[in-house]
Symmetry: C2
Subunit: 402 residues, 2 copies
């Protein structure tokens, strides 16, 4: 079937989302089924407005350079379209002769693909719709991992390695806030920073386990007594025992920050620092915080090559599925082999299997204490994150007075 | 003169401070003048307590690995000793037969070196005391640049490159807070992130120029109208027109955050976001913030090789000066040649020339508007920061409806 192809990028940027874009474009160029190869600017927004760019006019060199560049080259959008908007998108597709639609995004994007294809079916319009997985949150169903996650995890691990070295040199308590509103995958990656005895993070809190602020302070005090310092990883999505975001309880306690949102802000870290300072047993304990921020999804200069390769591959695979006669689906990732031998293959599953719901960290990855991550998670994450830089360490043998 | 050598690290960690440590140790090992080669744990604190480690027992491999590792391998301290404490340090030195003292740090460390040597002179004790420059703030007098700064500047530049790509994909206002309490060197490095037309940061605020919050919002509104987005670099040390930290004025305006310190916290960014949201002309403007945090001084995986080479060299040079018969001094850096041809040489200057005072950004590096950095700064910084990763860019030629 001949027709125009459109591709869009949705949701938060990642360090390798442009690999998937280039994977689609470079595979599509090879096949005469695709007449125009269009990019939609800012995802669904460009589709609603017919704001398309001609990707056939991009040079091979520009494509290879953009593949290595973080963030979404076509622009992105945080918009989950209504059914009415999906109907409008279909009208635009019809107008532009678009027969192939590829959407790189998370579970909401899979849902959008699903609705648009339902509308096309109603109109007996043959549209081929494919969802290409992407999210630093790693919370898509069916997939072994999501492209974008290993690179973000790598940034988190390298950040914690540096923070641990910093905290060792200048001892105190350091609380680092990690992205992940509903699932703890990215926060768990902080555990990859441990290379030597006593290395931090010494405590890791994920949204899958509720915490009490009292227990949080007691945990920190205990680690501070043991190590003379304490590095803590906290997911921005941690919830209290009432199931509400922990920041809510803290605002009650501190009577400040009341008007601040919790993303793109340092408020949660600041609230935790203040609570710990007010409630620790140790008067002289120095408590600081960093919120790792957008660098987790778009820092230029850190990425997992395994991630990049997989992201490129799922883009190309989506095009191949479209040519095989598949009407729609979500490309998913299966890992084969272990450790350094691991390779990825894809399957095509129904859009609904990936849409809507998310995948939490499984129980086996969370320590029973609820404040740490298990070796099983390390075994899962290491091969996809790749070899990390090594932290040096001196023996530091004491000199005795003569 | 035969005797024991002690080396310490002081102040904030950097990504290359261990290169200087290894530079000292590997040079000292070659010369029989040095009997013991000791490291003082946590800088002056270890010297007060006689808490020394034997660096002769470290393997060549461990030394080379630690050189590549950020943060201070011997531990560090934020303590500017009193004259009384300097006298105590001298007593410990006498007790341990220490004849050579090397201290890696900023201007306070140079001052400490100066006082300890005055005490030694009083006692007719031949002590050789050398200050080795280090600070991510780049604010030491006499030096062309300070080891630690180019690597921190590189992290800042790569961080802003990613943040600019992110902001381009998901347009809005993003305010990033950069370290540098008194001088704008590190914030200025954000300008290195610009590679293409329209790239951010679009506004850069340094402590050398006071700002009014009204002008700050007006600047952002103007850039937002021009680019449809705005990325802003703000030094944590920016001051208002009254010469007081800008955060103080903002607390007055927002009546929150009153109890929070400004370092190791996201408070300044959050206050600026709130002020901009409350005062912008654009109702739908999305404003977010990140505080770059400790990663600027200790992230594992980003450093300038020029910086690393210079840091190693100043360590070795300090030892050579000590052997040449110089009694004391601060090793300073002179740059010879331009661009990629640049190399560094050292001089030895009096400790007092580097102690106490700091070096602000010169006027020629700050745009007349007071909200940007000049090409002169870029020419200064590029050779020491090194080649940065390239940001890809697509042509994005529009598709026209048939």
């Amino acid at each position: 079937m001949k027709g125009n192809l459109v591709i869009g990028q949705s949701g938060g940027p990642t360090m390798v989302i442009n690999e998937s874009l280039v994977g689609v474009v470079k595979e599509a160029i090879k096949h005469e089924e695709f007449t125009g190869i269009y990019g939609s600017l800012h995802g669904i927004k460009g589709m609603l407005e017919g704001n398309f760019v001609d990707l056939r006019q991009e040079s091979e060199e520009a494509l290879e350079e953009i593949a290595k560049t973080p963030s979404s080259a076509l622009g992105t959008v945080r918009l989950k379209p209504t059914e009415e908007q999906c109907r409008q998108v279909f009208d635009v597709f019809e107008e532009y002769g678009i027969k192939y639609f590829f959407y790189i995004g998370g579970n909401d994007s899979a849902e959008t693909c699903h609705i648009i294809n339902e509308v096309a079916r109603e109109h007996n319009y043959e549209l081929r719709v494919f969802h290409i997985p992407k999210t630093i949150d790693n919370d898509l169903k069916v997939n072994d991992f999501c492209p974008g996650y290993p690179s973000a995890a790598r940034y988190v691990a390298q950040s914690f390695m540096g923070n641990d070295l910093d905290n060792r040199a200048l001892p105190g308590v350091k609380i680092d806030i990690v992205m992940g509103r509903h699932a703890g995958w990215l926060t768990a990656a902080s555990a990859l920073a441990r290379q030597h005895e006593g290395d931090g993070p010494h405590l890791i809190y994920v949204p899958e386990r509720s915490i009490s602020v009292e227990k949080f302070v007691a945990d920190i005090d205990a680690m501070y007594e043991k190590h003379g310092r304490c590095l803590v990883a906290v997911s921005e999505g941690v919830v209290g025992e009432d199931g509400e975001p922990i920041a809510k309880a803290l605002i009650g306690n501190t009577d400040s920050h009341g008007n601040l949102q919790l993303s793109g802000s340092g408020a949660l870290g600041d609230l935790l620092v203040k609570y710990v300072e007010d409630h620790t047993k140790h008067d002289d304990m120095r408590v600081r915080t960093d919120t790792l921020g957008y660098a987790q999804r778009s820092f230029l200069g850190v990425r997992s090559e395994f991630d990049a390769k997989t992201a490129r591959m799922v883009g190309a695979e989506a095009v191949k599925y479209a040519l095989k006669g598949d009407i729609d689906g979500s490309v998913t990732i299966r890992r084969i082999g272990e450790g350094k031998e691991a390779v990825c293959e894809t399957d095509l599953v129904k859009l609904r299997e990936v849409a809507k719901h998310t995948q939490d960290l499984p129980d086996e990855f969370i320590a029973e204490s609820g404040n740490d991550i298990t070796q099983s998670f390390i075994d899962y994450a290491k091969p996809i994150v790749g070899e990390l830089p090594k932290k040096g360490k001196l023996a530091l043998n004491k000199v005795h007075k003569k």
